[in-house]
Protein backbone atom coordinates (compact mmCIF):
# COMPACT_ATOMS: atom_id res chain seq x y z
CA UNK A 1 0.00 0.00 0.00
CA UNK A 2 2.86 2.29 0.76
CA UNK A 3 4.31 1.44 -2.59
CA UNK A 4 1.09 2.59 -4.16
CA UNK A 5 1.39 5.86 -2.31
CA UNK A 6 4.95 6.40 -3.40
CA UNK A 7 4.14 5.33 -6.91
CA UNK A 8 1.22 7.69 -7.10
CA UNK A 9 3.27 10.64 -5.92
CA UNK A 10 6.08 9.90 -8.29
CA UNK A 11 3.77 9.21 -11.19
CA UNK A 12 2.12 12.53 -10.60
CA UNK A 13 5.36 14.44 -10.67
CA UNK A 14 6.70 12.48 -13.56
CA UNK A 15 3.52 12.79 -15.52
CA UNK A 16 2.99 16.47 -15.03
CA UNK A 17 6.54 17.72 -15.09
CA UNK A 18 7.92 15.03 -17.33
CA UNK A 19 10.96 14.35 -15.22
CA UNK A 20 11.70 11.32 -13.08
CA UNK A 21 12.11 12.84 -9.68
CA UNK A 22 15.32 11.36 -8.33
CA UNK A 23 14.77 13.17 -5.11
CA UNK A 24 11.53 11.33 -4.44
CA UNK A 25 13.27 8.74 -2.32
CA UNK A 26 15.06 11.43 -0.38
CA UNK A 27 11.77 13.19 0.25
CA UNK A 28 10.44 9.92 1.63
CA UNK A 29 13.40 9.72 4.00
CA UNK A 30 13.03 13.37 5.00
CA UNK A 31 9.40 12.70 5.84
CA UNK A 32 10.43 9.95 8.21
CA UNK A 33 13.09 12.04 9.86
CA UNK A 34 10.86 15.07 10.14
CA UNK A 35 8.36 12.90 11.95
CA UNK A 36 10.95 11.86 14.48
CA UNK A 37 11.99 15.44 15.08
CA UNK A 38 8.49 16.80 15.33
CA UNK A 39 7.45 14.09 17.70
CA UNK A 40 10.57 14.78 19.69
CA UNK A 41 9.59 18.43 19.82
CA UNK A 42 5.89 18.19 20.33
CA UNK A 43 5.64 14.80 21.93
CA UNK A 44 2.65 13.70 19.95
CA UNK A 45 2.69 11.18 17.15
CA UNK A 46 -0.50 12.38 15.55
CA UNK A 47 0.69 15.95 15.38
CA UNK A 48 3.89 14.68 13.92
CA UNK A 49 2.00 12.76 11.30
CA UNK A 50 0.16 15.91 10.43
CA UNK A 51 3.05 18.33 10.38
CA UNK A 52 5.93 16.31 8.99
CA UNK A 53 4.46 15.68 5.53
CA UNK A 54 3.54 19.34 5.27
CA UNK A 55 7.17 20.11 5.91
CA UNK A 56 8.14 17.83 3.10
CA UNK A 57 5.57 19.43 0.82
CA UNK A 58 7.09 22.77 1.64
CA UNK A 59 10.48 21.41 0.80
CA UNK A 60 9.03 20.19 -2.45
CA UNK A 61 7.71 23.65 -3.20
CA UNK A 62 11.10 25.10 -2.52
CA UNK A 63 12.82 22.58 -4.74
CA UNK A 64 10.47 23.24 -7.58
CA UNK A 65 10.76 26.97 -7.30
CA UNK A 66 14.50 27.13 -6.77
CA UNK A 67 15.63 24.66 -9.30
CA UNK A 68 13.22 22.75 -11.41
CA UNK A 69 11.45 25.84 -12.63
CA UNK A 70 14.69 27.64 -13.42
CA UNK A 71 15.78 24.79 -15.59
CA UNK A 72 12.58 24.56 -17.54
CA UNK A 73 14.26 26.16 -20.51
CA UNK A 74 17.31 23.93 -20.30
CA UNK A 75 15.32 20.82 -20.83
CA UNK A 76 14.18 17.78 -18.96
CA UNK A 77 17.61 16.23 -18.63
CA UNK A 78 18.84 19.11 -16.56
CA UNK A 79 15.78 19.24 -14.36
CA UNK A 80 16.33 15.58 -13.72
CA UNK A 81 19.98 16.10 -12.90
CA UNK A 82 18.96 18.82 -10.52
CA UNK A 83 16.73 16.43 -8.60
CA UNK A 84 19.59 13.97 -8.63
CA UNK A 85 22.06 16.38 -7.13
CA UNK A 86 19.41 17.34 -4.64
CA UNK A 87 18.88 13.75 -3.62
CA UNK A 88 22.54 13.54 -2.82
CA UNK A 89 22.47 16.74 -0.82
CA UNK A 90 19.39 15.71 1.10
CA UNK A 91 20.85 12.32 1.93
CA UNK A 92 23.96 13.92 3.26
CA UNK A 93 22.02 16.55 5.15
CA UNK A 94 20.06 13.84 6.86
CA UNK A 95 23.30 12.35 8.09
CA UNK A 96 24.57 15.73 9.15
CA UNK A 97 21.45 16.58 11.10
CA UNK A 98 20.36 13.24 12.46
CA UNK A 99 23.53 11.21 12.44
CA UNK A 100 24.67 8.30 10.32
CA UNK A 101 23.38 5.59 12.57
CA UNK A 102 19.88 4.35 12.04
CA UNK A 103 17.14 5.46 14.35
CA UNK A 104 14.20 3.60 15.60
CA UNK A 105 10.87 4.98 16.48
CA UNK A 106 8.09 3.25 18.28
CA UNK A 107 4.54 3.50 17.13
CA UNK A 108 2.24 5.57 19.30
CA UNK A 109 0.90 3.82 22.35
CA UNK A 110 -2.51 3.50 20.84
CA UNK A 111 -1.26 1.35 18.03
CA UNK A 112 1.20 -0.90 19.72
CA UNK A 113 0.81 -4.58 19.97
CA UNK A 114 -0.93 -6.84 17.57
CA UNK A 115 -4.28 -7.90 16.39
CA UNK A 116 -5.33 -11.50 16.29
CA UNK A 117 -6.63 -12.03 12.79
CA UNK A 118 -7.40 -15.64 13.36
CA UNK A 119 -4.77 -17.12 11.11
CA UNK A 120 -1.97 -14.80 12.08
CA UNK A 121 -1.02 -12.24 14.61
CA UNK A 122 -0.69 -8.96 12.76
CA UNK A 123 0.87 -5.77 14.18
CA UNK A 124 -1.72 -3.11 14.86
CA UNK A 125 0.46 -0.40 13.50
CA UNK A 126 0.87 -2.07 10.15
CA UNK A 127 -2.87 -2.35 9.85
CA UNK A 128 -3.14 1.31 10.65
CA UNK A 129 -0.59 2.15 7.98
CA UNK A 130 -2.43 0.08 5.42
CA UNK A 131 -5.69 1.78 6.21
CA UNK A 132 -4.16 5.23 6.36
CA UNK A 133 -2.25 4.79 3.14
CA UNK A 134 -5.32 3.39 1.50
CA UNK A 135 -7.34 6.39 2.61
CA UNK A 136 -4.71 8.75 1.28
CA UNK A 137 -4.61 7.00 -2.05
CA UNK A 138 -8.38 7.16 -2.28
CA UNK A 139 -8.40 10.79 -1.21
CA UNK A 140 -5.79 11.71 -3.78
CA UNK A 141 -7.66 9.75 -6.37
CA UNK A 142 -10.87 11.54 -5.58
CA UNK A 143 -9.12 14.86 -5.74
CA UNK A 144 -7.73 14.05 -9.15
CA UNK A 145 -10.93 12.57 -10.50
CA UNK A 146 -13.64 14.67 -8.98
CA UNK A 147 -12.33 18.13 -8.45
CA UNK A 148 -11.78 20.69 -11.13
CA UNK A 149 -8.16 21.26 -10.25
CA UNK A 150 -7.58 17.56 -10.27
CA UNK A 151 -8.99 17.38 -13.73
CA UNK A 152 -6.69 20.16 -14.81
CA UNK A 153 -3.77 18.24 -13.43
CA UNK A 154 -4.74 15.11 -15.29
CA UNK A 155 -5.15 17.13 -18.44
CA UNK A 156 -1.70 18.54 -17.82
CA UNK A 157 -0.29 15.05 -17.90
CA UNK A 158 -1.92 14.36 -21.22
CA UNK A 159 -1.25 17.59 -23.01
CA UNK A 160 0.59 20.51 -21.51
CA UNK A 161 0.28 22.87 -24.42
CA UNK A 162 -3.46 22.52 -24.44
CA UNK A 163 -3.71 23.29 -20.79
CA UNK A 164 -1.62 26.41 -21.03
CA UNK A 165 -3.56 27.51 -24.07
CA UNK A 166 -6.69 27.27 -21.98
CA UNK A 167 -5.25 30.04 -19.88
CA UNK A 168 -4.12 28.01 -16.92
CA UNK A 169 -0.84 28.90 -15.36
CA UNK A 170 1.21 25.90 -16.27
CA UNK A 171 4.01 26.79 -13.89
CA UNK A 172 1.72 26.93 -10.95
CA UNK A 173 0.37 23.56 -11.98
CA UNK A 174 3.89 22.18 -11.92
CA UNK A 175 4.52 23.60 -8.49
CA UNK A 176 1.32 22.19 -7.06
CA UNK A 177 1.95 18.80 -8.63
CA UNK A 178 5.44 18.69 -7.24
CA UNK A 179 4.30 19.77 -3.80
CA UNK A 180 1.54 17.20 -3.81
CA UNK A 181 3.89 14.47 -4.91
CA UNK A 182 6.31 15.54 -2.21
CA UNK A 183 3.55 15.47 0.36
CA UNK A 184 2.68 11.92 -0.57
CA UNK A 185 6.29 10.88 -0.32
CA UNK A 186 6.65 12.63 2.99
CA UNK A 187 3.64 11.05 4.58
CA UNK A 188 4.67 7.66 3.27
CA UNK A 189 7.98 8.19 4.99
CA UNK A 190 6.40 9.39 8.18
CA UNK A 191 4.13 6.39 8.27
CA UNK A 192 7.00 3.99 7.64
CA UNK A 193 9.21 5.31 10.41
CA UNK A 194 7.77 3.17 13.17
CA UNK A 195 7.68 0.04 11.06
CA UNK A 196 11.20 -0.50 9.93
CA UNK A 197 13.09 2.21 11.68
CA UNK A 198 15.03 4.89 9.94
CA UNK A 199 18.35 4.90 8.21
CA UNK A 200 19.90 7.41 5.87
CA UNK A 201 19.82 4.90 3.03
CA UNK A 202 16.09 4.33 3.18
CA UNK A 203 15.52 6.93 0.53
CA UNK A 204 17.59 5.24 -2.14
CA UNK A 205 16.03 1.85 -1.61
CA UNK A 206 12.55 3.31 -1.84
CA UNK A 207 13.45 5.31 -4.93
CA UNK A 208 14.24 2.19 -6.89
CA UNK A 209 10.95 0.62 -5.95
CA UNK A 210 9.03 3.79 -6.71
CA UNK A 211 10.58 3.86 -10.16
CA UNK A 212 9.60 0.26 -10.73
CA UNK A 213 6.04 1.04 -9.72
CA UNK A 214 5.82 3.98 -12.07
CA UNK A 215 7.47 2.11 -14.91
CA UNK A 216 5.15 -0.85 -14.48
CA UNK A 217 2.07 1.21 -14.06
CA UNK A 218 2.78 3.20 -17.14
CA UNK A 219 4.24 6.66 -17.13
CA UNK A 220 1.64 9.22 -16.31
CA UNK A 221 -1.00 6.62 -15.64
CA UNK A 222 -2.04 7.36 -12.08
CA UNK A 223 -4.43 4.49 -11.68
CA UNK A 224 -1.80 2.21 -13.13
CA UNK A 225 0.70 3.42 -10.58
CA UNK A 226 -1.69 2.61 -7.76
CA UNK A 227 -2.42 -0.81 -9.15
CA UNK A 228 1.22 -1.55 -9.79
CA UNK A 229 2.12 -0.38 -6.32
CA UNK A 230 -0.36 -2.74 -4.78
CA UNK A 231 0.72 -5.62 -6.94
CA UNK A 232 4.35 -5.14 -6.15
CA UNK A 233 3.66 -4.81 -2.46
CA UNK A 234 1.74 -8.06 -2.48
CA UNK A 235 4.29 -9.80 -4.65
CA UNK A 236 7.08 -8.79 -2.37
CA UNK A 237 5.26 -9.96 0.71
CA UNK A 238 4.54 -13.30 -0.90
CA UNK A 239 8.10 -13.84 -2.04
CA UNK A 240 9.46 -12.72 1.30
CA UNK A 241 7.48 -15.44 2.99
CA UNK A 242 9.28 -18.13 1.03
CA UNK A 243 12.62 -16.74 -0.03
CA UNK A 244 13.41 -13.69 2.07
CA UNK A 245 16.65 -12.70 0.46
CA UNK A 246 15.30 -12.56 -3.02
CA UNK A 247 12.31 -10.39 -2.29
CA UNK A 248 13.80 -7.13 -3.48
CA UNK A 249 15.55 -8.71 -6.40
CA UNK A 250 12.31 -10.25 -7.53
CA UNK A 251 10.68 -6.85 -7.78
CA UNK A 252 13.25 -5.65 -10.24
CA UNK A 253 13.35 -8.92 -12.09
CA UNK A 254 9.59 -8.83 -12.55
CA UNK A 255 9.87 -5.31 -13.83
CA UNK A 256 12.52 -6.29 -16.33
CA UNK A 257 10.34 -9.15 -17.54
CA UNK A 258 7.20 -7.10 -17.85
CA UNK A 259 8.99 -4.36 -19.74
CA UNK A 260 10.49 -6.89 -22.08
CA UNK A 261 7.07 -8.12 -23.01
CA UNK A 262 5.20 -4.85 -22.77
CA UNK A 263 7.53 -1.88 -23.07
CA UNK A 264 4.85 0.55 -22.03
CA UNK A 265 4.27 -1.09 -18.68
CA UNK A 266 1.22 -3.05 -17.69
CA UNK A 267 -1.26 -0.29 -18.18
CA UNK A 268 0.77 2.29 -20.01
CA UNK A 269 -0.56 4.03 -23.03
CA UNK A 270 2.57 5.87 -24.03
Amino acid sequence: MLYALMGLGLSLITGVLNIPNFAHGALFAVGAYFLVSVVGLLGNFWLGLLVAPLGVALLGLLIEWAGVRRLYAAGHDYQLLFTFGLALILNELIIVIWGPVGLSHLPPALLRGGVDLGFTFYPKYRLFVMVMAGLLVVATWLFLEKTRYGAIMRAGIENKEMVSLLGIDIHRLFTVAFALGAYLAGIAGALTAPIRGLSPGMGVDMLGIAFVVVALGGLGNLLGAIAAGLLIGIAQAVVAAYWTEASTVVIFAVMALVLLVRPQGMFGIR
Partner: protein, 305 residues
Protein backbone atom coordinates in the same frame (compact mmCIF):
# COMPACT_ATOMS: atom_id res chain seq x y z
CA UNK B 1 44.31 23.33 -27.81
CA UNK B 2 46.59 20.37 -28.33
CA UNK B 3 45.21 17.62 -26.24
CA UNK B 4 47.50 14.66 -26.70
CA UNK B 5 50.77 16.32 -25.66
CA UNK B 6 49.00 17.66 -22.61
CA UNK B 7 47.70 14.24 -21.76
CA UNK B 8 51.03 12.52 -22.23
CA UNK B 9 52.70 15.09 -20.04
CA UNK B 10 50.03 14.62 -17.40
CA UNK B 11 50.57 10.91 -17.44
CA UNK B 12 54.25 11.36 -16.83
CA UNK B 13 53.95 14.02 -14.19
CA UNK B 14 50.90 12.93 -12.22
CA UNK B 15 52.36 10.13 -10.09
CA UNK B 16 54.82 12.62 -8.68
CA UNK B 17 52.11 15.07 -7.66
CA UNK B 18 49.77 12.57 -6.07
CA UNK B 19 50.29 8.99 -4.95
CA UNK B 20 50.55 6.54 -7.83
CA UNK B 21 47.45 4.78 -6.58
CA UNK B 22 45.38 7.94 -6.80
CA UNK B 23 46.87 8.79 -10.15
CA UNK B 24 45.86 5.35 -11.38
CA UNK B 25 42.38 5.87 -9.99
CA UNK B 26 42.06 9.06 -11.99
CA UNK B 27 42.87 7.35 -15.28
CA UNK B 28 40.61 4.41 -14.44
CA UNK B 29 37.73 6.72 -13.72
CA UNK B 30 38.49 8.57 -16.93
CA UNK B 31 38.10 5.33 -18.90
CA UNK B 32 34.79 4.83 -17.14
CA UNK B 33 33.76 8.36 -18.08
CA UNK B 34 34.74 7.92 -21.70
CA UNK B 35 32.42 4.94 -21.89
CA UNK B 36 29.56 6.88 -20.39
CA UNK B 37 30.12 9.89 -22.56
CA UNK B 38 29.70 7.92 -25.75
CA UNK B 39 26.15 7.46 -24.57
CA UNK B 40 25.61 10.76 -22.83
CA UNK B 41 27.50 13.33 -24.82
CA UNK B 42 27.47 11.78 -28.25
CA UNK B 43 24.21 9.87 -28.42
CA UNK B 44 22.30 12.02 -25.98
CA UNK B 45 21.31 9.12 -23.76
CA UNK B 46 21.46 9.82 -20.05
CA UNK B 47 22.33 6.40 -18.76
CA UNK B 48 22.05 6.28 -15.02
CA UNK B 49 23.17 2.72 -14.61
CA UNK B 50 26.74 2.54 -15.84
CA UNK B 51 27.92 1.00 -12.60
CA UNK B 52 26.03 -2.12 -13.62
CA UNK B 53 28.72 -2.85 -16.20
CA UNK B 54 31.57 -1.49 -14.13
CA UNK B 55 30.62 -3.51 -11.10
CA UNK B 56 29.68 -6.71 -12.92
CA UNK B 57 33.02 -6.78 -14.68
CA UNK B 58 34.80 -6.07 -11.42
CA UNK B 59 33.01 -8.87 -9.61
CA UNK B 60 33.41 -11.49 -12.32
CA UNK B 61 37.04 -10.70 -13.08
CA UNK B 62 37.78 -10.27 -9.40
CA UNK B 63 36.28 -13.63 -8.62
CA UNK B 64 38.25 -15.37 -11.33
CA UNK B 65 41.45 -13.60 -10.36
CA UNK B 66 40.99 -14.57 -6.77
CA UNK B 67 39.77 -18.14 -7.04
CA UNK B 68 41.10 -19.29 -10.37
CA UNK B 69 44.32 -17.31 -10.52
CA UNK B 70 43.88 -16.13 -14.07
CA UNK B 71 46.41 -13.80 -15.60
CA UNK B 72 46.20 -10.07 -16.04
CA UNK B 73 45.26 -9.98 -19.69
CA UNK B 74 42.62 -12.69 -19.48
CA UNK B 75 41.19 -10.72 -16.58
CA UNK B 76 41.03 -7.59 -18.71
CA UNK B 77 39.51 -9.51 -21.56
CA UNK B 78 36.87 -10.98 -19.31
CA UNK B 79 36.14 -7.61 -17.78
CA UNK B 80 35.60 -6.04 -21.17
CA UNK B 81 33.46 -8.95 -22.28
CA UNK B 82 31.33 -8.91 -19.14
CA UNK B 83 30.94 -5.15 -19.41
CA UNK B 84 29.88 -5.42 -23.01
CA UNK B 85 27.56 -8.35 -22.43
CA UNK B 86 25.78 -6.86 -19.46
CA UNK B 87 25.41 -3.69 -21.50
CA UNK B 88 23.90 -5.73 -24.30
CA UNK B 89 21.29 -7.13 -21.92
CA UNK B 90 20.50 -3.88 -20.20
CA UNK B 91 20.70 -1.92 -23.42
CA UNK B 92 18.33 -4.23 -25.20
CA UNK B 93 15.68 -3.55 -22.61
CA UNK B 94 16.34 0.14 -22.48
CA UNK B 95 16.78 1.33 -26.05
CA UNK B 96 13.28 0.37 -26.96
CA UNK B 97 12.10 3.15 -24.76
CA UNK B 98 13.10 6.76 -24.90
CA UNK B 99 13.30 9.78 -22.70
CA UNK B 100 12.09 9.29 -19.17
CA UNK B 101 11.46 5.60 -19.46
CA UNK B 102 14.96 5.04 -20.66
CA UNK B 103 16.53 6.90 -17.76
CA UNK B 104 14.33 5.23 -15.19
CA UNK B 105 14.99 1.83 -16.67
CA UNK B 106 18.75 2.20 -16.60
CA UNK B 107 18.45 3.16 -12.97
CA UNK B 108 16.05 0.40 -12.04
CA UNK B 109 18.10 -2.29 -13.78
CA UNK B 110 21.14 -0.99 -11.97
CA UNK B 111 19.24 -1.57 -8.74
CA UNK B 112 18.43 -5.09 -9.86
CA UNK B 113 22.08 -5.93 -10.28
CA UNK B 114 22.88 -4.14 -7.05
CA UNK B 115 20.45 -6.19 -5.04
CA UNK B 116 21.66 -9.39 -6.62
CA UNK B 117 25.18 -8.49 -5.60
CA UNK B 118 23.91 -7.51 -2.17
CA UNK B 119 22.14 -10.78 -1.57
CA UNK B 120 24.54 -13.22 -3.21
CA UNK B 121 26.92 -12.95 -0.32
CA UNK B 122 28.56 -16.29 -0.96
CA UNK B 123 30.04 -14.99 -4.18
CA UNK B 124 30.17 -11.26 -3.84
CA UNK B 125 30.53 -10.88 -0.11
CA UNK B 126 27.46 -8.67 0.02
CA UNK B 127 27.94 -5.52 2.01
CA UNK B 128 31.52 -6.39 2.87
CA UNK B 129 32.58 -6.61 -0.71
CA UNK B 130 35.00 -9.04 -2.27
CA UNK B 131 38.43 -8.59 -0.80
CA UNK B 132 41.64 -10.26 -1.80
CA UNK B 133 41.74 -9.51 -5.50
CA UNK B 134 45.32 -10.08 -6.60
CA UNK B 135 47.39 -8.32 -9.15
CA UNK B 136 49.14 -11.11 -10.97
CA UNK B 137 52.52 -10.49 -12.52
CA UNK B 138 53.05 -10.52 -16.24
CA UNK B 139 56.24 -11.34 -18.07
CA UNK B 140 58.18 -10.80 -14.93
CA UNK B 141 56.71 -7.38 -14.24
CA UNK B 142 55.36 -7.30 -10.73
CA UNK B 143 52.25 -5.17 -10.82
CA UNK B 144 52.11 -5.04 -7.10
CA UNK B 145 54.61 -2.24 -7.38
CA UNK B 146 52.41 0.87 -7.42
CA UNK B 147 54.44 2.57 -10.09
CA UNK B 148 54.42 -0.44 -12.37
CA UNK B 149 50.68 -0.75 -12.06
CA UNK B 150 50.29 2.98 -12.62
CA UNK B 151 52.19 2.80 -15.89
CA UNK B 152 50.10 -0.17 -16.93
CA UNK B 153 46.87 1.66 -16.17
CA UNK B 154 47.93 4.86 -17.86
CA UNK B 155 49.01 2.96 -20.96
CA UNK B 156 45.59 1.33 -21.09
CA UNK B 157 44.00 4.72 -20.60
CA UNK B 158 45.94 6.17 -23.50
CA UNK B 159 44.88 3.23 -25.62
CA UNK B 160 41.25 3.68 -24.59
CA UNK B 161 41.36 7.36 -25.38
CA UNK B 162 42.84 6.69 -28.79
CA UNK B 163 40.15 4.08 -29.48
CA UNK B 164 37.37 6.37 -28.39
CA UNK B 165 38.80 9.12 -30.52
CA UNK B 166 38.72 6.84 -33.54
CA UNK B 167 35.17 5.84 -32.75
CA UNK B 168 33.82 9.34 -32.44
CA UNK B 169 35.52 10.41 -35.64
CA UNK B 170 34.17 7.42 -37.49
CA UNK B 171 30.83 7.25 -39.24
CA UNK B 172 29.42 5.61 -36.13
CA UNK B 173 30.31 8.71 -34.19
CA UNK B 174 28.44 10.86 -36.65
CA UNK B 175 25.47 8.54 -36.73
CA UNK B 176 25.20 8.59 -32.95
CA UNK B 177 25.38 12.35 -32.89
CA UNK B 178 22.81 12.45 -35.65
CA UNK B 179 20.52 10.35 -33.52
CA UNK B 180 21.08 12.82 -30.72
CA UNK B 181 20.41 15.82 -32.91
CA UNK B 182 17.36 14.51 -34.68
CA UNK B 183 16.37 10.91 -34.22
CA UNK B 184 13.42 11.09 -36.58
CA UNK B 185 15.56 12.39 -39.41
CA UNK B 186 18.31 9.90 -38.67
CA UNK B 187 15.81 7.09 -39.08
CA UNK B 188 14.40 8.69 -42.20
CA UNK B 189 17.80 8.73 -43.87
CA UNK B 190 18.27 5.10 -43.10
CA UNK B 191 19.65 4.39 -39.61
CA UNK B 192 17.77 2.10 -37.26
CA UNK B 193 18.13 4.13 -34.11
CA UNK B 194 17.60 1.39 -31.51
CA UNK B 195 20.27 -0.78 -33.07
CA UNK B 196 22.82 2.02 -33.04
CA UNK B 197 21.93 3.00 -29.52
CA UNK B 198 22.48 -0.60 -28.51
CA UNK B 199 25.86 -0.55 -30.18
CA UNK B 200 26.76 2.58 -28.26
CA UNK B 201 25.65 0.84 -25.08
CA UNK B 202 27.83 -2.17 -25.73
CA UNK B 203 30.88 -0.08 -26.49
CA UNK B 204 30.26 2.09 -23.45
CA UNK B 205 29.76 -1.06 -21.40
CA UNK B 206 33.02 -2.54 -22.62
CA UNK B 207 34.91 0.59 -21.57
CA UNK B 208 33.15 0.55 -18.21
CA UNK B 209 34.05 -3.10 -17.81
CA UNK B 210 37.71 -2.40 -18.45
CA UNK B 211 37.61 0.34 -15.85
CA UNK B 212 35.93 -2.05 -13.44
CA UNK B 213 38.61 -4.71 -13.65
CA UNK B 214 41.41 -2.19 -13.31
CA UNK B 215 39.63 -0.73 -10.31
CA UNK B 216 39.30 -4.13 -8.67
CA UNK B 217 42.97 -4.81 -9.16
CA UNK B 218 43.95 -1.36 -7.97
CA UNK B 219 42.27 -1.58 -4.61
CA UNK B 220 42.42 -5.33 -4.27
CA UNK B 221 38.78 -5.35 -3.35
CA UNK B 222 35.45 -5.09 -5.09
CA UNK B 223 33.24 -3.03 -2.79
CA UNK B 224 29.47 -3.19 -3.09
CA UNK B 225 29.48 0.47 -4.05
CA UNK B 226 31.12 -0.46 -7.33
CA UNK B 227 27.78 -1.68 -8.64
CA UNK B 228 25.63 0.81 -6.80
CA UNK B 229 23.62 3.78 -7.82
CA UNK B 230 26.21 5.99 -6.15
CA UNK B 231 28.92 5.01 -8.58
CA UNK B 232 26.54 5.45 -11.50
CA UNK B 233 25.81 8.90 -10.23
CA UNK B 234 29.47 9.69 -9.65
CA UNK B 235 30.48 8.99 -13.21
CA UNK B 236 27.59 11.13 -14.48
CA UNK B 237 28.67 13.92 -12.15
CA UNK B 238 32.26 13.70 -13.21
CA UNK B 239 31.43 13.65 -16.92
CA UNK B 240 29.07 16.59 -16.67
CA UNK B 241 31.42 18.61 -14.53
CA UNK B 242 34.14 18.03 -17.06
CA UNK B 243 31.83 18.71 -19.95
CA UNK B 244 29.89 16.12 -21.91
CA UNK B 245 30.25 18.02 -25.14
CA UNK B 246 33.87 17.13 -25.58
CA UNK B 247 35.87 13.95 -25.90
CA UNK B 248 38.17 15.13 -23.16
CA UNK B 249 35.45 16.26 -20.79
CA UNK B 250 35.33 12.97 -18.88
CA UNK B 251 39.08 13.18 -18.34
CA UNK B 252 38.86 16.59 -16.76
CA UNK B 253 35.84 15.46 -14.83
CA UNK B 254 37.73 12.48 -13.52
CA UNK B 255 40.53 14.71 -12.30
CA UNK B 256 38.11 17.01 -10.55
CA UNK B 257 36.07 14.25 -9.04
CA UNK B 258 38.84 11.98 -7.82
CA UNK B 259 40.87 14.87 -6.51
CA UNK B 260 37.84 16.23 -4.70
CA UNK B 261 36.80 12.90 -3.27
CA UNK B 262 40.25 11.90 -2.14
CA UNK B 263 41.16 15.20 -0.62
CA UNK B 264 37.80 16.04 0.86
CA UNK B 265 37.01 12.65 2.30
CA UNK B 266 39.78 12.89 4.84
CA UNK B 267 38.62 16.31 5.90
CA UNK B 268 34.89 15.79 6.11
CA UNK B 269 33.04 12.52 5.87
CA UNK B 270 30.05 14.37 4.50
CA UNK B 271 31.94 15.67 1.48
CA UNK B 272 29.36 14.23 -0.96
CA UNK B 273 27.24 17.14 0.18
CA UNK B 274 29.73 19.49 -1.41
CA UNK B 275 29.76 17.32 -4.47
CA UNK B 276 26.00 17.60 -4.70
CA UNK B 277 26.21 21.35 -4.31
CA UNK B 278 28.96 21.63 -6.91
CA UNK B 279 26.87 19.50 -9.21
CA UNK B 280 23.81 21.68 -8.79
CA UNK B 281 25.88 24.74 -9.52
CA UNK B 282 27.14 23.14 -12.70
CA UNK B 283 23.63 22.14 -13.71
CA UNK B 284 22.27 25.60 -13.04
CA UNK B 285 25.03 27.73 -14.49
CA UNK B 286 27.77 25.81 -16.25
CA UNK B 287 26.03 23.18 -18.22
CA UNK B 288 28.89 22.57 -20.53
CA UNK B 289 31.13 21.80 -17.63
CA UNK B 290 34.73 22.83 -17.28
CA UNK B 291 35.33 22.46 -21.00
CA UNK B 292 32.66 24.98 -21.85
CA UNK B 293 33.69 27.37 -19.10
CA UNK B 294 37.23 27.15 -20.41
CA UNK B 295 36.06 27.83 -23.97
CA UNK B 296 34.10 30.80 -22.83
CA UNK B 297 37.09 32.26 -21.05
CA UNK B 298 39.28 31.51 -24.05
CA UNK B 299 36.92 33.25 -26.44
CA UNK B 300 36.48 36.14 -24.09
CA UNK B 301 40.20 36.71 -23.74
CA UNK B 302 40.60 36.45 -27.51
CA UNK B 303 38.03 39.18 -27.96
CA UNK B 304 39.82 41.40 -25.52
CA UNK B 305 43.16 40.98 -27.21
Amino acid sequence: MRAWPLILVSICVLPFIVRPAIAAEIWIFAIFGLGLNLLLGYTGLLSFGQSTFFGSAAYVAGYLLKHYAIGVFPALGIGIAVGGLSALLVGYLCVQRSGLYFIMLTFALNQLFYFIAYQWTSVTGGEDGMPGVPRPAFLGVDFRDPMAYYLFVSALFALSLWLMQRIVQSPLGKILQGIRENEVRAEAVGYHAPRFKLLAFVIGGAFSGLAGVLYAMLFGIVPLEAISFVTSGNVVFATLIGGSGSLYGPIIGSFVFIWLSESMSVVWARWPLLLGVAFIIVVLFFRGGVVEAWNRIWRFSRQRA
